[in-house]
């Protein structure tokens, strides 16, 4: 039984469709990410759930109740805005307490709950600070505390981490997940950062031009992207076009092992191969010979550009101390397990997993 349901929710501005028939079922306590490039309609979708944008068509159901046309102040959802939207003339405690005041909760109870939630986000020493006296990460935690304190049935987060630097961002991702799991609030987070979406969500919704193109658990979105766009948007991907054989494809005269998608022999297909699934092997043991044309060091791994008969292939190798990494100009051979290379015919339909 889904807790929050979107039924072909659409939004059009004039003759431009910002969100096109988005349908989604979110279970209670689930953490779902809306992932997609800029302008694909993520914020618009979130704001329709929040009631800040009037849907052009479709409906929103919360716990079996139709809230499509309910005013935002009656929905009781917790929202964290991209700009945080903290009230600048109120202290941290006043900001957090505002939602409780609106619910006419008594002073003593208010103080208790504010203290509780500020402890949860580890801001218990900042009660009397004004938002301008806080760092970016602290502001963001105030925004989360302010949304959580009203104990909302659903928490909506619009790119809550996009204003933070990389290190803080990573810390806050885990922090966000910890808070969400402690409280158990159903959460929908908008992001255009694929790493963020994959690392902390239960399910990822990929959006493209206002449409949902894949709804799946993070590992499935990564390993079995439904479209070529998703495969290149999420992580790095080598795409090699060729013709299908049984358990292989033929491309530029080379035969490359792959697992099939039921494409008939001779059909044009695309082979998708993640850089980290490719191994650099001694001569004579690989499927594809090539020459290293560039290499980049990332600390935990190396990235090699390898020129081959089928074009440029990106290979990622973990930085182990076993052997020296191949140098630029060095001939290498590439190998992979057939299960790691997926071949697929175009066009493809949306694949989906219910949660």
């Amino acid at each position: 039984m889904s807790f929050l349901t979107l039924n072909s929710l659409s939004k059009t501005y004039g003759n431009f469709t910002a969100v096109d028939a988005v349908s989604l079922e979110v279970g209670k306590g689930e953490f779902v990410s809306l992932l997609g490039p800029s302008g694909c309609g993520k914020t618009t979708t979130l704001q329709m759930i929040a009631g800040l944008v009037e849907p052009s068509a479709g409906s929103v159901m919360l716990d079996g109740r139709d809230i499509t046309h309910e005013k935002p102040n009656r929905r009781g959802l917790g929202i964290v805005f991209q700009t945080y939207a903290l009230f600048p003339h109120m202290t941290v405690a006043q900001n957090v307490s505002f939602g409780l005041e609106m619910r006419r909760i008594g002073k003593a109870e208010r103080d208790r709950r504010v203290a509780e939630v500020l402890a949860l986000v580890k801001l218990d020493r900042f009660f009397d600070r004004y938002p301008r006296q806080l760092s970016g990460g602290q502001r963001q935690r105030v925004a989360i505390a302010r949304a959580l304190v009203i104990e909302p049935p659903v928490l909506l987060l619009d790119e809550p981490l996009s204003n933070l630097d990389a290190k803080l961002r990573e810390e806050m991702q885990f922090e966000l997940r910890r808070i969400q799991q402690t409280v158990g609030t159903t959460t929908i987070m908008v992001t255009h950062d694929q790493g963020e979406a994959l690392s902390i969500s239960d399910r990822v919704v990929v959006m493209e031009h206002g449409r949902m193109t894949q709804v799946d658990v993070p590992a499935a979105v990564y390993d079995h992207p439904a479209t070529e766009f998703i495969s290149s948007f999420i992580g790095k991907m080598n795409n090699i076009s060729g013709t299908a054989l049984t358990s292989a494809i033929q491309s530029s005269g080379v035969i490359l092992p792959a697992t099939g998608s039921g494409a008939a022999e001779g059909e044009p297909v695309i082979l998708s191969l993640r850089p980290e699934r490719i191994n650099i092997v001694p001569a004579g043991e690989g499927h594809l010979p090539g020459v290293v044309s560039a290499r980049f060091f990332f600390g935990s791994h190396w990235l090699f550009n390898v020129e081959t008969a089928v074009g440029l292939i990106i290979v990622s190798s973990p930085n182990t101390d076993r052997s020296l990494p191949p140098a630029v100009g060095q001939p290498v051979e590439l190998a992979w397990a057939p299960e790691s290379a997926r071949m697929a015919a175009r066009p493809q339909e949306v694949s989906r997993v219910e949660g």
């Binding site: 929040a50 935002p72 917790g78 805005f81 700009t83 939207a85 003339h89 505002f98 939602g99 009203i150």
Partner: protein, 284 residues
Amino acid sequence: MTARTHSTPWFLSLPGLIFFLGMVVLPLVLTAVLSFHAYDFNLGVRDTYTLSNYTTVLSDPYFLSIFWRTLRIAFITTVLCVMIGVPEAYILSRMWNPWRSVFLLVIIGPLLVSVVVRSFGWSMLLGSTGLISKASIMLGLGPVRILYSETAIVIALVHVMLPFMIIPVWTAIQKLDPGLESAAWSLGASRFTAMRRIILPQISLGVLSGSLIVFGLSASSFAIPGLLGGRRLKMAATVVYDEYMHELNWPLGAAIAFIVLVANLLIMLAYNRMIEARARKVLG
């Protein structure tokens, strides 16, 4: 070299300095000096100095009632401008083009018409044979005469001063994060509560500075009380005019002008301190 760099700023600001000294400071000093001259009905301005102009003005109930009226009218005008201007600026900021441009023009439009012409317009509307009176007669309520009353002056002043309130408030609203209001709604605040608790405190600076302008301009207004107040209802500026042009008692006129100037200055400085205190609180 150093001497030149030191004199350059002075040299560059010389035109402005001359202008300011010649157009503002000099007339003020002359007025101040004049206000201490003695005056005789038969002999005109004398070369002896006296404080009697000030004692006359400050002890005459006629003049005191005019000062009091000036302050009252300026205050009422300011309050009305806040009450009308703030919601108007808010509505304006929520409008989309082309309506926004149209209404902005409607608001600023009056500034493009001479005050005298506008005042005549109001006197035609408000007079005993004016449109409003005629409408009231037609409704069987009998004639109403608003012209030559404080009400007429206040109505016309509010009309003229509204842009000076709306523009600073509108600017303040433009600077707000639109997410603030949405955040307040999402936390359960009604539109009205969000406006009162979140929006108003943050545009209070705009409201205060707008009030300062409106109060100052209303207290020193001349054409509107002159044309709509008639012979009886004087305000500070019109009574100064009377002393200069009808009584020919220039020293007395100068004394009134100075008292009004000082009173206005004191009120505005006090108000300004309040604004700065508020700014420290809101902006940190």
